[in-house]
Symmetry: C2
Subunit: 349 residues, 2 copies
């Protein structure tokens, strides 16, 4: 509901009028005239009175008149007030809910496609561009290592982590190795490195420990370095962090990007995965949905846009971030609802 009393100098009536301006502007993208509000909303006020209120709202910085004889459009400050104080959560249609639940439940478990499907569903429902990052490298703990002979000196190494994730890679040993030898190496490594976190592998302690063990078992210590390095590569850096962008073309639907120059600029940032990563990762906490409006965004190019972001986790495990990008007049209520539904669906698991 609207706040009962005054807020930041805004009485209830001003709040109502501001909300009306914002709601209309979100739909039409045209300046809203006093008469429009007087006719459309049953405030029991004449256009003249609304004009006076709008004049006040402009003075306070909540709305702006693009030119002298035009209606008003909301300012960033106006949107901010609306988002923080006025906005009500929108109910999704059952189809929309079903869409989200379906998209997410199908992909649950496969994290990569999960984030991608989530972005796709959100973009489809909201018609805004959606960007999802996907979490990379966790702190893996080695549970079991097994080497498999491939060809001569080439062996495949399979690493099972404490979370039962399985990774594999190939290693070229300094010399050819018989299946029996490979099996032995396997056993020694598994014994030595079981329970060790991948972060600690670089530690000199483990390297010398491995050397020692290999020596005791009569194995060539020259194999230690390539083997350790391979583990590190397989678990450490992992795949580079992925970014999925869905619904780029939606940006072009908005009149605020009809100007080709602006469309190009936005397009540019949407193609720069690194910038997107930086944009997405900053300052997200807990399950909170984060909204930055217009000039609140750091990036020059996004100063005409709003970004709604959230951290995605399943079972307290961080999966990635998701962001919905649109013009400042974006439908905050709808996007919030969609995001919340998605988060709730993941929470059920």
């Amino acid at each position: 509901m609207l706040l009962g009393g005054a807020y930041l100098g805004l009485n209830d009536r001003k709040m109502k009028i501001l909300a009306a301006i914002i709601k209309d502007y979100i739909v039409t993208a045209e300046p809203i005239a006093s008469r429009t509000i007087a006719k459309k909303y049953d405030f029991g006020l004449s256009s003249a009175t609304i004009r006076n209120e709008m004049s006040d709202l402009e003075e306070m910085g909540y709305v702006v008149a693009p030119h002298a004889s035009s209606g008003r459009i909301p300012s960033d400050k106006g949107y901010r007030l609306y988002v923080d104080q006025v906005m009500k959560r929108r109910k999704l249609t059952t189809e929309q809910q079903a869409l989200i639940v379906q998209a997410l439940q199908q992909e649950m478990g496969r994290m990569e496609s999960l984030m991608q499907e989530m972005a796709r569903a959100i973009s489809y429902i909201t018609n805004y561009t959606t960007v999802a990052t996907q979490q990379t490298a966790k702190q893996h703990i080695i549970k079991h290592i097994q080497l498999v002979p491939v060809d001569g000196a080439v062996v495949a190494m399979v690493i099972v982590t404490a979370e039962n994730e399985v990774r594999n890679c190939t290693v070229v040993l300094p010399m050819s190795a018989s299946p029996a030898l490979v099996a032995k190496i396997s056993k020694v490594m598994s014994r030595t490195l079981g329970g060790v976190g991948v972060g600690e592998l670089g530690n000199v302690l483990y390297i010398s420990m491995m050397r020692h063990q290999f020596g005791q078992e009569g194995l060539d210590t020259a194999m230690v370095d390539p083997l350790l390095e391979a583990i590190y590569n397989a678990l450490g850096t992992g795949e580079p962090q992925q970014v999925h962008t869905v619904g780029i073309k939606n940006i072009l639907e908005f009149p605020e990007f009809a100007d080709l120059e602006k469309a190009r600029a936005i397009m540019g940032i949407l193609e720069e995965k690194d910038e997107l990563l930086a944009l997405l990762s900053g300052g997200l906490t807990g399950d909170k949905i984060h909204i930055t409006i217009g000039a609140e965004n750091q990036e020059q190019i996004l100063q005409n846009c709003s970004v709604i972001r959230a951290k995605i986790s399943i079972d307290q495990q961080f999966c990635g971030n998701i962001a919905i990008i649109g013009p400042t007049r974006m439908d905050y209520a709808q996007v919030m609802s969609v995001l919340q539904t998605a988060l709730a669906t993941l929470g059920l698991k």
Copy 2:
């Protein structure tokens, strides 16, 4: 060089004039006037003569006048003639060559990033949008199978193929299995399935053979089905075919897409991975670079575009397809050179 004699009714002079029109139009995107050609090219002809020739060219369908008193622009037929008969390969600058060589050599071996980097480099040099697909599922032949205990009934299966590619997956067995049992299953499977192509796995023959072998060795035949299925999944479908699109924003630089409607349409197709896959995969043979001009494209949306495509292979092994998409007045010569350089670089390996 230009053809010495007549070709399709075009004498040398007409050819020269057509080439001039095309070259100019590729740069300016404006209709080319007879006087422009007379001044710019030293053909020793007056604008009136060129006008006559242009009139002939129009009659033959190689050029078009957008309106009564305008210069001429090339038709699809004109471009086709140019591409097939007139166009000379453009020399790349050393920086451009270096860029390609560097991008490709760094990524050689990692196929996924190879195609992506290739697309990126090409898009960067040419300023056209570039799409790359990445090859999936080959006809794998099983060389070696090893099971690794993970947790209770869960085992990791590592499959080494005849091409020494290593795949892994996890399988949930119908019952918990001790490490010794897992090792035994490993051995039996490796023996039974070594040398078998993954395509044949669905064959009843192999299923019953596996059952028989398992029975003989005192193993539970209930494990056969999940194990075979896992192999099939790991090698058969593999990861879904990937599509990388780079330089989407470049599309907006061209005046032919200043019309938002068209820009949106193109954007749409560039986001549809399935459509791109279909578009990219058709009818590519050998090392040949394939050009489709304007209306030669099947897709309605691409009728104002040209697509230059090639199959990418390393050591006769198919890696994926690559396509460069631009307006019909795209700089065919440059794109051809870039692609050829890329192909040659891969050939050196």
